[in-house]
Assembly symmetry: C2
Homo-oligomer: 109 residues x 2
């Protein structure tokens, strides 16, 4: 359903870079993330984090004046992987079943 937003969010290289940082650090404040992303400024990183959050790919935890972000693997990431497995299953020797039931039960586009 809203996997549309997830695919869109994943299309940006900077956003994938942010996901990479979060995958390595587990939890990170917005500022700490911005420090490791050198290609764009802090403002852009903030906006990207918003997109990722709305898309359901990362989750936000507010603590004082900090905001900590982390990977959300139970959000729309499931839908994305489900869709991809459904389309490319042929050449991927039966990875179906790796995701908890109802893989292959959703509409495609």
């Amino acid at each position: 359903m809203d996997s549309n937003m997830a695919f869109d969010a994943l299309a940006d290289p900077v956003r994938r870079e942010i996901l990479g940082v979060l995958a390595a650090e587990d939890e990170c404040s917005a500022g700490a993330i911005a420090e490791r992303i050198t290609s764009v400024g802090r403002t852009a990183v903030s906006t990207h984090l918003r997109v990722l959050r709305v898309a359901g790919l990362v989750s936000e935890r507010r603590d004082g004046r900090f905001r900590y972000y982390s990977i959300d693997s139970s959000g729309s990431a499931r839908d994305v992987l489900s869709l991809l497995h459904q389309v490319f299953r042929a050449g991927l020797q039966s990875v179906d079943g790796a995701l908890p039931h109802e893989v292959g039960s959703e509409r495609l586009a």
Copy 2:
């Protein structure tokens, strides 16, 4: 490397719809695909097919005046799934290993 193009290609809803058609039909001529995609015209579908082909997500077979397209699951789709598994592995009870070796050996962004 060129998973950039693959992610970009996957970001468009029409292109995902095309992939859905191909996943269901196994092989389809350009015209047959265009007939099933009602949201845009034939020209747009042709361009989308080009993007998908360059991205390494579909393969083309020319036969006479027809061009048959089919899902390419051994192309950059592997890189995409590899990257996603690497990032979202936490909440996905160890699906790592479902892809043939060297999963998790590439850079992230």
